[in-house]
Symmetry: C2
Subunit: 231 residues, 2 copies
């Protein structure tokens, strides 16, 4: 029998929750996931406790694990926190980044700009994420990296379906130009500030989107059938 599934299983489960496989505020079906991943309930439940510690699910006594609901308040809070974390990352990046890492960021930036020009949103998102992660990784601050990854995972669930209006997108691209420039000059203060406002803009765009589609069309028959979330 296979040993040490924990790390793999945890990653796979995290993907299930962040990848939109389970909708927000829905029950996490233990048995189903056991079958899907070919493990017994013991390691699966261990992974769920870890996900709960990461803030991706809520554990309700005797009612199992539930994916976190998406609320405007939490979205705002998540972005304010990740803004602070990335600001710190920006500062430390400029004192610790190597030339090789700078070169890689340059390449990612150029590639992302190309996707912006051709309006390839999916590829743009992927590169965008790599850039932000590379900035954080360049700090060599493991504590920061861990919290950044955790918080970003929580945001990823929300952003999963967010659109990108042209005006916002153009602004974001300009901010990335500024970021790259600050990195070249090793100006941590400026980089930190740009990152923070960059995230404020992203947050505003997503909140606007959330507010537009508020009702979520859930008083329907499907919504009735689903078990009600905790509290």
């Amino acid at each position: 029998m296979k040993q040490n599934v924990h790390a793999d299983l945890l990653g796979a489960l995290r993907d299930v929750v962040t990848g939109g496989d389970l909708p927000p505020a829905s029950r996490v079906p233990e048995k189903q996931l056991c079958d899907r991943f070919g493990v017994s309930r013991t390691p699966l439940r261990e992974a769920l406790k870890a996900l709960a510690a990461e803030g991706l699910v809520d554990l309700v006594p005797n009612r199992g694990a539930w994916t976190k609901p998406v609320t405007i308040d939490e979205t705002r809070d998540l972005f304010s926190v990740i803004g602070a974390l990335e600001e710190l990352a920006g500062e430390q990046c400029c004192t610790r980044i190597t030339e090789a890492e700078t070169e890689r960021l340059r390449a990612l930036h150029v590639a992302m700009r190309a996707r912006f020009e051709t309006r390839d949103l999916a590829a743009y998102y992927a590169l965008n994420r790599q850039i932000h992660e590379a900035i954080v990784a360049s700090t060599r601050n493991e504590v920061l990296t861990r919290l950044y990854m955790q918080t970003n995972a929580r945001i990823a669930r929300i952003r999963f379906v967010a659109p990108m209006p042209p005006a916002i997108w153009t602004t974001a691209m300009q901010e990335h130009d500024g970021m790259m420039n600050a990195i070249e000059r090793r100006d941590g203060t400026v980089l930190g500030n740009i990152l923070r406002t960059h995230l404020r803009h992203k947050c505003a765009a997503i909140i606007a989107d959330l507010e537009s589609g508020t009702t979520e069309a859930d008083a329907t028959e499907a919504g009735r059938r689903r078990r009600r979330p905790p509290a």
Copy 2:
């Protein structure tokens, strides 16, 4: 048989790790803790996975859980992160705090100053912690509060035995005066800045202390007998 031990057990285990009950870089004895808390291995191991997600222990495949070693690098990283978190807390505190909470902070501040005058370090520490936690709580930002608590728990293990030289202590007390003043004036920017430098000073003091007692006197017979940590 008792149900839903998870939350209680997790808290108790966290206290064991943060309270200095288990030294840094030591094995977490599963069976022993099971006996101590009167539970079977299943819930205990679940709690350990959660602690690992919180960054309090490392899980080593087939070698169990180990408390994190205390290193200077990690200490520096922890403080830089909690500095960023508290800076954010300071900003949001001033926009969201209620008058009742301000009143409570006033009382805590006065009480802490009294302990400073009489040089009652333990009581000072306790009040200090309450003040910082109250500032964070006043933001009503659950994401921030959660990460703050987690990070603070990791720092608590380190600070457990840190001394407090008179000069440092006086400076810290002055900074707290400035914080209280900024709160009264609802000046989030200033409060955030003070908090960040306040933590920078704390960090410097603790690192200095760590550097003084580097060797940890562990090549002795006791150190030889103990199983060696992972990696």
